[in-house]
């Protein structure tokens, strides 16, 4: 017996998550075998390929927003989690403090330095190996040119003799009163000189991050070792400031909202979501449409549901009761990826795909070993 094929309207209805004043309905996806009697929901690569879509909304260097349409929440969430926790980057890990007479304590200073995002040649970062932490059983890998990057921070504050007598600004009164991320000096070792040259040199992404404040006679002198790591280990290794997704909002106006109500309705949503259009003569002439005798008045129409925040404000008013249905599209994920500056944001997503592929391959290998 051939499997039943649900109608397009039915499929569309199943895609929408219902959002009510107090509850959310129809949450889990049902497109798997055995849920709908008689229907086949077998997963097939061709069906997925035909249904899958990617749309870019913005693609700046360090921030991108795009939609992935037609995939399961599990996969979309896997990408989000991989983006945050499993793409390797470089960050300061060990601080060797030779001198620190500033008011900021050694451990606090070390922790601050760790969180500074560093950039450098992507090729070089990919070339770098993991550093193996020593344990009780095994010795560590030690610091080598292929796993450790050395930065130095050497600043001393002293009085500026040429400063004006009445000067109040400590930055003019003293030299090096403020220590910034740009004071971190990169010292390439061995093959690092070939990889991290010119623009590819290791440097803080934001040169104006304030690290500490000094006064004359105070001094910071330290050596910093940067290693490769992943966000799951520590947030400083995370390549993204945020990587999140939301589902595409869906607004259905089920019964006409006209005149003053329409203006009030539009105010319940962010700008540009609801538009006002005059009721046409044809609509007014059709009986049962709800527009009878309202020709020329303003009616509310959904212009761009994408911009909605799904605040549910419109559900609070009696006049809109039963006239509007809010929802979200279950398989339309609007991603927003903001890079901390090591990688470009669109490359980051591709890296996430690569990591997921790699994990799948490992899983597959594990299965083959299990069968053998």
């Amino acid at each position: 017996m051939a499997p039943l094929v649900p109608s397009q309207e039915e499929l569309q209805r199943r895609r929408i998550i219902g959002i009510n004043p107090e509850t959310v309905t129809n949450i889990p996806s049902t497109d798997f075998p055995g849920h709908w009697p008689g229907e086949s929901h077998e997963w097939a690569l061709d069906t997925f390929k035909n249904g899958f879509q990617v749309e870019f909304h913005r693609n700046d260097r360090f921030e991108s927003s795009f939609s992935l349409i037609g995939l399961d929440a599990a996969v979309a969430n896997a990408f989000r989690r991989i983006l945050m926790a499993e793409i390797p980057t470089i960050a300061i890990e060990d601080c060797f403090i030779h001198n620190n007479t500033s008011v900021i304590q050694d451990e606090v200073l070390a922790s601050r330095l760790g969180l500074i995002p560093l950039k450098g040649s992507v090729e070089g970062i990919n070339w770098m190996h993991w550093v193996k932490k020593e344990s009780d059983d095994e010795p560590g890998s030690g610091a080598c040119d292929f796993n450790t990057i050395v930065l130095r921070l050497d600043v001393e504050c002293y009085k500026n003799e040429y400063a004006d007598k009445d000067e109040q600004d400590p930055r003019k009164l003293y030299t090096n009163a403020h220590v910034y991320a740009k004071d971190l000096m990169f010292h390439p070792v061995g093959r690092q000189e070939d990889f991290f040259v010119g623009d590819g040199a290791i440097a803080p992404v934001n040169p104006d991050i304030l690290i500490a404040k000094l006064r004359p006679g105070q001094k910071i002198e330290m050596e910093l070792h940067c290693v490769k790591g992943i966000g799951a280990d520590h947030a400083k290794f995370s390549p993204v400031a945020t990587a999140s997704y939301r589902l595409l909002p869906d607004i259905k106006i089920e019964r006409p909202i006209i005149g003053e109500d329409a203006r009030k309705f539009a105010k319940c949503f962010p700008k540009g979501v609801i538009g006002l259009e005059p009721v046409t003569a044809a609509e007014a002439a059709r009986s049962g449409s709800g527009y009878e005798g309202h020709a020329g008045e303003q009616k509310a129409v959904v212009k761009d549901a994408f911009k909605d925040t799904v605040s549910r404000e419109c559900l609070r008013y009696d006049e809109f009761q039963g006239k509007v249905k809010l929802g979200r599209v279950r398989d339309h994920f609007i991603f927003n990826v903001e890079s901390t500056g090591q990688f470009e944001s669109d490359v980051l997503f591709l890296e996430a795909v690569k990591v997921l592929k790699f994990k799948c391959a490992r899983w597959k290998r594990g299965l083959t070993d299990l069968m053998a």
Partner: protein
């Protein structure tokens, strides 16, 4: 234990911290001087054994020890 286990630098006999060298036999005249910081004017005050504890510039009587010259290691976590 540690791969970069810290080695205490041999500071020689001229420091006051060297137990075998200076301090025990510090009764002699050229005893080592230790630098302190004045609590009032932050001046560097070298003091020898038996010296009056007093800043040479401002006469303040509270002096502080300098920070250790040893390297301190922290994890940036």
């Amino acid at each position: 234990m540690s791969r970069e286990a810290y080695q205490v630098p041999s500071m020689g006999a001229q420091t006051a911290f060297d137990t075998q060298g200076g301090y025990g036999s510090a009764m002699n005249v050229d005893s080592p001087s230790v630098v302190y910081l004045c609590g009032e004017c932050s001046a560097r005050v070298p003091l020898k054994r038996g010296d009056q504890i007093r800043c040479k510039d401002c006469g303040h009587r509270v002096l502080y020890k300098e920070r250790t010259k040893r390297m301190v290691q922290f994890q940036a976590r």
